[in-house]
């Protein structure tokens, strides 16, 4: 239990992730679902960034030719976060574009109403 407070960054990341997940599950509005999706993304970045952090070390940009492992933080999670941000931007833009098309077609953002209307069209 005490580990939760030592790892407080990870705890916060997990809580933000759960908030995003719950938003996606409970909201019927498509835009709010996308906001929840972005919450989950940000929580993952926070988690990865704090996994790479080491107490008292600096960002991995070599200063004065010091090349020992004791001087810098772990560079691998930083690269992973960069990849994640790019993918999340692309996916968010794609989701928003799809939502705009759905709104043009059905004039509502409520996912249940959209399902009902599309079923009615099929009949």
């Amino acid at each position: 239990m005490i580990q939760l407070f030592i790892n407080y960054y990870e705890t916060v990341a997990v809580i933000i992730f759960s908030i995003g997940f719950t938003t996606m599950l409970l909201n019927r509005n498509l835009i709010k679902k996308i906001i929840g999706f972005n919450f989950m993304d940000c929580a993952i970045y926070l988690f990865l960034a704090c996994k790479g952090y080491v107490e008292g070390r600096k960002a991995p940009i070599i200063i004065d030719g010091v090349q020992s492992m004791e001087a810098y933080i772990n560079p691998v999670p930083s690269g992973l976060v960069l990849t994640g941000i790019v993918v999340s931007v692309s996916v968010t833009a794609f989701l928003l574009a799809l939502t705009i098309r759905l709104y043009y077609r059905y004039h509502t953002l409520d996912i249940e109403e959209i399902i009902v209307l599309s079923k009615k069209e099929e009949d």
Partner: protein, 324 residues
């Protein structure tokens, strides 16, 4: 024109009338305005009611056939249950994780050691993250650039509207029937235009600086490209599409993205080919810390920056207008 309902009773207005010796109190007939508003409200309410009734009846029909009501209730309970269970499981995992910021964590293993201790000699980049993503894992970054490009293309497919050769919107079925939302935006805002004239060159310059210094300091193609894209968006907001059309069209997007991606692919193909076959690639690594150093990382950063800037601007124009 919107007018307060108690406008006739405002003291200032009475004073003006008294000063002007204007006896005509009714240049906007109250009855007319109120009647109009009532009429509008009635119409809106009727339409809404009709729509709600329709939806309700269809929902009821579905509920009968598909057990919808039961599903609605159980869905909420079940999703709250799932969310709570997930929070408990994840918090349990976090409580078992190694301590935050501890140097002996298993994540700080021989992989990061190798990157830090020989990254400078092998890639020539002072910024180890840049050396990692554009040299060791350059293939992955090529994929990332393609993800951005494909996202921009799919947004283009979904949102682009047909503008005829005369610049007028061709009516497409079901799109933009209910008024054009840009009608109410201010145009030629003087404050925004003056600030943009001052800031636009500086922001672009800063973006280029971030792109070109990607291998010797924090930054790189992605962040610098995002800054340049933001500058383009600011320019568009201040001066409108007629001005940005002069230097940024579909063709600009198409050719800049294509040229950047193909350059990236060809450069990296050469380096992979020579590296895999133990050939000497002949690309000088240069002196670490100089602007012209670290082999292919600088041109690759420029390519990535171009793709990101074009993609950002294309997203903006597509969401705002559906055209460039």
């Amino acid at each position: 024109m919107k007018i307060r309902e108690d406008y006739e009773q405002v003291g200032w207005r009475k004073l003006i009338h008294w000063v002007n010796a204007d006896l005509q109190e009714d240049y906007i007939s109250k009855d007319h305005v109120i009647h109009d508003q009532l009429h509008l409200k009635e119409n809106a309410a009727q339409e809404k009611n009709k729509r709600i009734d329709e939806l309700k009846s269809s929902l009821q029909a579905l509920a009968k056939t598909h057990g919808k009501q039961w599903y609605e209730k159980s869905y909420r309970i079940f999703s709250i249950f799932v969310a709570v269970a997930m929070i408990i499981v994840l918090l349990g995992v976090v409580s078992q994780l190694p301590s935050f910021g501890d140097p002996s964590n298993p994540a700080n293993n021989e992989v990061s050691e190798r990157y830090i201790e020989s990254g400078l000699q092998e890639t020539g980049a002072v910024n180890i993250v840049a050396g990692m993503i554009l040299d060791y894992r350059a293939f992955d970054t090529l994929g990332e650039s393609h993800v951005l490009f494909i996202a921009a293309v799919s947004v283009l497919i979904l949102l682009r509207m047909d503008y005829g050769s005369d610049g007028k919107l061709r009516k497409t079925k079901g799109i933009r029937d209910e008024g054009y939302d840009r009608m109410y935006e201010p145009r030629n805002d003087l404050i925004l235009q003056t600030v943009t004239r001052l800031l636009f060159p500086m922001i672009v310059l800063f973006g280029i600086y971030v792109i070109l210094n990607g291998h010797i300091s924090a930054g790189g193609g992605f962040s610098g490209g995002a800054i340049v894209g933001a500058a383009l968006i600011l320019y568009n907001n201040a001066f409108g599409f007629n001005k940005t059309k002069r230097f940024f069209t579909y063709n600009t997007f198409k050719w800049v993205s294509f040229a950047s991606l193909i350059t990236y692919a060809l450069l990296k193909t050469y380096s992979f080919y020579t590296g895999a076959n133990h050939l000497h690639s002949g690309i000088p690594l240069g002196e670490p810390g100089a602007i012209l150093s670290s082999g292919l990382i600088l041109p690759l950063n420029i390519c990535v920056g171009c793709v990101v800037a074009c993609t950002m601007y294309t997203f903006f124009t597509m969401f705002r207008k559906g055209g460039m």
